[in-house]
Amino acid sequence: MSRKSRFMEWGYSSVIAVISLIMVYPLLFMIINSFKNNKELFSNYWGLPTVFRYENYVRAWVDGKLSMYAYNSVLVTVTATLAALIMSTMLSYAIVKLRFKGANIVFLCILFAMFIPDEMNIVPRFLLLNDLGLIGTHWNLFIVYAVGALGMSTFILRNFMLSIPGELAEAAAIDGSGDWGVFFKIYVPLVVPVLLSVTILIINGIWGEYVWALVSVTDDKLRTLPIGLTVFQSLHGSNYGPLMAGLCIMTIPIIVLFTVFTRQFVEGMTSGTVKG
């Protein structure tokens, strides 16, 4: 490498380094200051905490009722994600492998449904779920989130299954496996890595979902973290330590997932966007 291009590389690298810092600093600030009280925050704005005030987390978790909101979030996220994964894996397998009449039409229906913006459905969905008596229950978010994730995950899984060579299934069929055997012994194991990306994509979407939760959940006992945190903020907004602790509580699961599955996160988010 010439001296000039080495110099250029150094220039580009330092720009990226500075911008990376700007992008991450608010997050670091949030974590550091979740351990201070207001007095310590303003006397020692930029520094690390001298005393770790874990009680901020207790206040957010107990007094701020984040334990309740977190429970709702976990419950809804886990169940809706599982439901979406199971249904879309089965549906993709049927479309790709069970070759029935209209399989392509089914797929097109699902593809096209993804292009309908969610805002279009908010009003009638609220009225429908209200008529069904589900608005005041956990079922509301569970159903809406599961169905919301269905299209995207079917799309990604179906595309992946198309790339699985048919010989694998034929070999298994010769060994005496029926459709169920091929599904559980060949397709499900092969699909696991992609399933991981899809799972992360779905979890990330549901964990932070705001609009529908805002419109449809009025009972505080059913609120999930995205709304729960704004309630907490409006009640304790100027008590920054516990507020930051609350933000950390909601962020930690996502950051842990992101740290462990960085590649799947990026793959999920980018393939999820490249849907057309």
Binding site: P26, A94, I116, P117, I122, L229, L243, M244, G276
Partner: protein, 292 residues
């Protein structure tokens, strides 16, 4: 054989019907309902009868409609320009950086993408707090205290301060899509360009830009559509204020639902959908032909 076929028949039924019914019910049926509701009058949440185009007229004539359109268009314009250009140059700088910075930088810049919107909004609300907020404290610390201001509290700055948060959160995704496409540029192509004596700028123009063109379309669709639907961050940062300066179209829809003006809300949803569909087709068309 017949038994096998029946078994497969039941399996198809089990695997296809539940998800298909759900999709039909919760997207197609609801969209159709939305279209229908847009033509019905509601009184305290109850449907009372057909009223033609009145909901559309009411929606268009609402005092808040015009300003909301302008706010939304401003978001579309500013976010699209800065996020696409920013994402592109970040990706370009990234591929030109050394391996070490590249590995850390692409993850660091991507992190805000995965953060929940609520966390982002509440965090930035603190950053923008006039007294003791991160931004003003920082400005004072570096001797620019005179620039300090209530960023979310004035009609001149609230929208652009919110847009900055929007870009901060999503520029990583735009960058990542460009970056992945740029990695398809082979060493040979770059060698060839260099042998031909291409300058860095020519290389950018003739090697990297064509390489990211297909992704540019995706990025455009994502940012334009995302901005047309902008709501959550803006609503949480400012609740649409001050004096409507950050009230977007989706905010109007949501407000109509909360006020149980379902007909008007549905009429607005239908119009927003029409605009989104139109814009998608336009973007596709303008890229069409050159692709595939």
């Amino acid at each position: 054989m017949a038994a096998l076929r029946t078994a497969r028949f039941w399996m198809i039924g089990l695997f296809v019907i539940p998800p298909l019914v759900l999709i039909f019910f919760f997207t197609y049926y609801l969209s159709f309902q939305s279209l229908r509701l847009a033509f019905f009058e509601f009184s305290s949440g109850q449907e009372i009868g057909f009223n033609g185009l009145q909901n559309f007229r009411d929606a268009l004539n609402a005092e808040r409609f015009g300003p909301a359109v302008i706010v939304t268009l401003k978001i579309v314009a500013v976010v699209t320009v800065f996020q696409i250009a920013g994402g592109f140059f970040l990706a370009y700088f990234l591929v030109r950086s050394n391996k070490w910075v590249q590995n850390i930088g692409r993850v660091a810049i991507f992190i805000p993408v995965v953060l929940p919107g609520t966390v982002v909004a509440i965090l930035w609300k603190f950053i923008y707090t006039p007294e003791g907020g991160l931004l003003n404290t920082l400005l004072e610390a570096i001797g620019l205290g005179s620039w300090a201001m209530p960023w979310l509290g004035t009609t001149e700055t609230s929208l652009y301060a919110s847009i900055a948060v929007n870009i901060w959160k999503y520029v990583g995704l735009t960058m990542m899509l460009f970056y992945l496409a740029m990695q398809n540029v082979s060493k040979d192509q770059l060698e060839a360009a260099r042998v031909d004596g291409a300058t860095a700028r020519q290389e950018l123009w003739y090697v990297y830009l064509p390489a990211v063109k297909p992704v540019l379309e995706i990025n455009l669709v994502l940012t334009v559509l995302g901005s047309l639907r902008a709501f959550d961050i803006y609503n949480m940062l400012t609740n649409g204020g001050p004096v409507g300066s950050t009230t977007t179209l989706t905010k109007l829809i949501v407000d109509n639902i909360t006020a149980r003006n379902y007909g008007e809300g549905a009429a607005m949803s239908v119009m927003l959908f029409a605009v989104i569909a139109l814009v998608t087709v336009l973007i596709r068309k303008s890229f069409g032909g050159e692709q595939k």
